[in-house]
Amino acid sequence: MGAADTSITAMGVVASLLQVAAIVIGGPLLLGLMAKVRARVEGRVGAPIHQPLLDLRKQMRKERIHAEHSSAVLIVVPFVFVSTAAVAGAIAPLVTTRPALATSADILVIVYLLLAGSVALALAGLDAGTAFGGMGSSRAMTIGALAEPALLLAVVAMSIQSGTSNVPAIVADTLNHPGWSASPQRLLSLGALIIVVVAETGRIPVDNPSTHLELTMIHEAMTLEYAGPELGLVSLGESMRLGLLLALTVNLFIPWGVAEQTGGLAIPLGLAVLIAKVAMLGVLISLFEVRSAKLRLFQVPELLAGAFVLAMLAIVAGLVTT
């Protein structure tokens, strides 16, 4: 495949829209699934898996409330947050390696699109001028600043292997070279990547998404001032990012099932496989979360430094073995 291929085909657009739809709907469902698993393990019945979607519907119908001293930032941010996640989801190789704009689906684009969402949310946290918002932003940015490089390096390790930083191409390459998934650099970067994903999506042990104590919050503190539809958008964005990151991680290491063509049954098949893979991973993460507690804030950097070192080792391993 050449970079000069036109990046927009009709089927590509369809595939992209399907991917977006998948994370828009799948993201909340994934959250619901993880909550359900947790409840079951804890011996509770738990809310239905589609509960997050119901919440979303409820929030959409509520009144819009803006904090007293807030500015346009508070209003714009949810859109930015959702659209960056959506665009990242549209171009990433989730269901197929050939979505629209696949040539543009550079790892840097995806990472920085997600960063744009994080930045936007951090600004939203500061907008109302409250102590908690600032606290959340500060903590989230700190964790982000440390997670970002680990993420980048983890992917660089894979990019070196493939000779490109284009994610669909990496995934496609991995499909063609099944042995790669078991190579040391892949495993090391997998470790780094999972830690980063956990940190970026605010899961235990980095953050507790269901906390209600302001002082321990990271992620929730930033969104304290959101209510109604905007809160809905932000929550949607969060679940989209979770879905996207998990799907991407899974596809980078276990790419089988991702459609290399956009025709015929390949795409529905890819979607089905993807859902299965992500659900599996979600369950695994949930099981892990049940068994662990949240880290102290100042131990998080140590965790991320570990991820960083893993990613670096991955690169070194790649350089040594090739």
Binding site: G2, A3, A4, S7, V20, R61, R64, I65, H66, A67, E68, H69, S71, A72, V73, P78, F79, S83, T84, A86, L101, T103, S104, D106, L108, V109, Y112, L113, L115, A116, V119, L123, L126, A128, G129, A131, G133, G134, S137, S138, M141, T142, G144, A145, E148, P149, L152, V156, S159, I160, G163, T164, S165, N166, E225, G228, P229, L233, F298, I315
Partner: protein
């Protein structure tokens, strides 16, 4: 002999200097602004024509510059830098008209300003050592004097000027020595002489020459560990001057490295460039870390300049290293990446410094801990600041992103190099790139989030008003490329490629495909920022539409959540210092903050606190642990040396006697 356009531009600049020196106060600022912006426009035209046509222009005269002779040559590499300077100069000058305060309207300040811009324009066009050092030193002295416009009231400005002066003189001396060494071995002091005989010079001579100029140029570029002047000087200068310093002057340091190491010495030796990468890595990390820890807005921007120059140095170093090891196509890519970052850096950093000046003008402070809520009162400034800040964080599809992508690609494809040293250097480059990226995001979220949104933290910030239209226009002018070069970065590539072809002699065509997007040929990699922008807009509109459809109820304002506490004041907000505190804690070994908590108790009981003072200062660890001891060693010596001249005529005679006896003994 016809006088080329760029010399005419310099002439207009000189006219500006004279106008500043002689015209009466009433029309002084207006006329120098007219002349200087005229000079910038002419230079933009001249540089543009050189860049588009690829044909160089020359001018020389032995009547100017005694014993050395003036020699100017505008080739594409020089033209690119002239264009950068002229663009920032134009905006800064437009800004200056309404910004100029009492200290800036004096004869000396206006003349110095015109001189500063003119000399900045002249440096990239100089084609022999004499002309180069002449304009380089003019640039140094004029900017040094401009730092001092507020010398009466600002102790810090006087100190900054001292640091700046000494560092810049050290650098200039080193550059001069390096060029002289190269020139004398090459048999002539014109750049053409050096270039034509560079191949015949021994590696030792070339290395000595390059190391000397590298010290000087990297110090001007703010590279760690020669950066100490920068975080002092940039904040203290008047904002248009800061913008010029950071956007234009600092770039000329990079220009020098490319010109001498690449163009004149044809690439040189591998270890030079590994050293350059090492400095780049240090600068990127150190600059980014300090930027996150700074709460003075202009100091933050200054450290961010160090960070950005670090990235540029990584690019330049990677380019040189890969050039030497024979990976010429990737080398060109890395050079283009470095130049691209330089160009966009000039635009966003210039814009940010101008915005910082606007803030200082309206609020009376540039301490982020005193700001807040400016988005409500300074909408224009806030918007351009946001664009520039997001561009510097490299959010797509803004210009910073395209630059970082190019750099990332060149590093990535450099990894396939066979040379282990290069690969290790590139690995360090990638690590720095990644870490600095995350830290930059924190720094600028802090700058925008604490400075512009939230609630005002001081009366000054609460009473701020938008600055004059022309000042906003100047900022918009600089913010423009952030958007344009971000969305259609391909526009700049052919021009940058021409400049890179000079920087890397007899360059192979770079691996970038022509077009509005960035696309590699021979490697798999592309970005289409315009399409990304479309996609983002579509996604945003769709979301907005859905929301409109679903959520129909009205909006209302309510008090923010205060955890049940009734009274929420703006003092309860996170400040810049507190925002950065977690990161500061993580990196405390490098930053070594000086934290002080002072508790005053009520007289009656030690259990009740009357007042609590907290201070958190982060000064430059390199300055503290290296430069200050050296400075005090010199001061110590100065005190000791006074004994030489203790007033005793016998001692004085003894010196002569000893000299005489010594000479006799030696000759006997």
């Amino acid at each position: 002999m016809t006088i080329p356009l760029f010399v005419v531009g310099l002439g207009i600049g000189v006219a500006g200097v004279l106008a500043g020196a002689v015209l009466p106060a009433r029309i002084r600022v207006a006329s120098i602004a007219l002349l200087v912006s005229g000079a910038c426009l002419v230079e933009l035209l001249a540089a543009g024509s050189v860049l588009l046509s690829g044909r160089s222009r020359t001018f020389s005269s032995t009547a100017i510059l005694p014993l050395a002779g003036l020699r100017l040559l505008l080739d594409p590499l020089g033209a690119l830098f002239v264009a950068i300077v002229a663009f920032v100069g134009l905006a800064a000058t437009v800004y200056l008209v309404r910004y100029a305060f009492a200290g800036l309207t004096t004869r000396s300040a206006t003349a110095c300003y015109a001189l500063f811009v003119t000399s900045l324009l002249a440096v990239p066009a100089a084609a022999n050592t004499g002309s180069f050092m002449f304009s380089w030193e003019l640039m140094a002295i004029s900017s040094l004097l401009l730092l001092l416009v507020e010398h009466r009231h600002r102790q810090s400005a006087r100190e900054a000027a001292q640091w700046y002066g000494v560092m810049t003189q050290m650098g200039a001396a080193s550059i001069l020595l390096g060029l002289l060494v190269l020139g004398s071995h090459a048999g002539g002091q014109t750049f053409a002489d050096i270039k034509s005989s560079a191949a015949g010079l021994s590696p030792t001579v070339r290395s000595v020459g390059f190391m000397l100029v590298l010290f000087g140029f990297s110090s001007k570029a703010g590279a760690v560990p020669f950066h100490v002047w920068l975080p002092r000087a940039h904040p203290e200068a008047p904002s248009p001057v800061s913008a010029l310093m950071s956007g234009a002057m600092v770039s000329l340091g990079i220009y020098g490295i490319i010109r001498v190491g690449g163009d004149l010495l044809s690439g040189g030796l591998l270890w030079w460039w590994v050293l350059v990468i090492a400095m780049g890595v240090l600068s990127a990390l150190f600059g980014a870390l300090h930027a996150t820890a700074s709460s003075d807005l202009k100091r933050l921007l200054a450290y961010s300049t160090i960070d950005n120059m670090g990235l540029v140095l990584i690019g330049v170093g990677a380019s040189g290293a890969l050039w030497v090891t024979g990976r010429r196509d990737v080398a060109v890519l890395a050079m283009i990446a470095a130049l691209f970052i330089l160009v966009v850096h000039a635009s966003f950093k210039g814009c940010l410094f101008l915005a910082a000046g606007a803030i200082e003008r309206s609020t009376g402070t540039r301490d982020l801990d005193q700001l807040g809520g400016l988005i409500h009162r300074m909408k224009g400034t806030a918007s351009v600041f946001a664009i520039a800040a997001f561009s510097i964080i490299a959010l797509p599809p803004l210009s910073g992103f395209a630059g970082e992508w190019l750099l990332f690609q060149s590093l990535l494809h450099g990894f396939t190099d066979r040379n282990t040293t290069t690969v290790i250097a590139l690995l360090a480059g990638v690590v720095a790139f990644a870490l600095a990226g995350g830290l930059t995001a924190v720094a600028f979220v802090k700058a925008f989030g604490i400075g512009f949104i939230g609630r005002a933290r001081s009366p000054g910030a609460g009473a701020a008003t938008e600055v004059a239209g022309s000042m906003v226009a100047a900022m918009v002018l600089l913010a423009g490329p952030c958007l344009v070069l971000g969305v259609v970065p391909g526009l700049a590539i052919p021009l940058l490629a021409k400049a890179a072809n000079v920087g890397l002699p007899s360059a192979t065509p770079g691996p970038l495909v022509r077009g509005p997007n960035l696309e590699l040929a021979g490697y798999y990699g592309a970005i289409e920022p315009a399409l990304l922008l479309v996609a983002l807009v579509v996604a945003g509109c769709l979301t907005w539409g859905v929301l409109k459809l679903v959520a129909r109820r009205a909006t209302r304002r309510a008090e923010a959540w205060g955890c049940g506490r009734e009274l929420q004041t703006s003092r309860m907000q996170y400040t810049a210092t507190s925002f950065a505190e977690p990161l500061q804690r993580v990196f405390s070994d490098v930053l070594r903050p000086d934290i002080d908590v002072e508790v005053t108790h009520v007289a009656e009981s030690r259990f009740y606190e009357k007042a609590l003072a907290y201070s958190n200062e982060t000064d430059d660890a390199i300055e503290r642990s290296f430069y200050r001891p050296v400075a005090s060693a010199f001061r110590w010596w100065g005190e000791r040396a006074r004994r030489i001249q203790n007033g005793s005529v016998h001692r004085y005679l003894a010196f002569g006697f000893a000299a005489l006896v010594m000479v006799l003994v030696v000759l006997a």
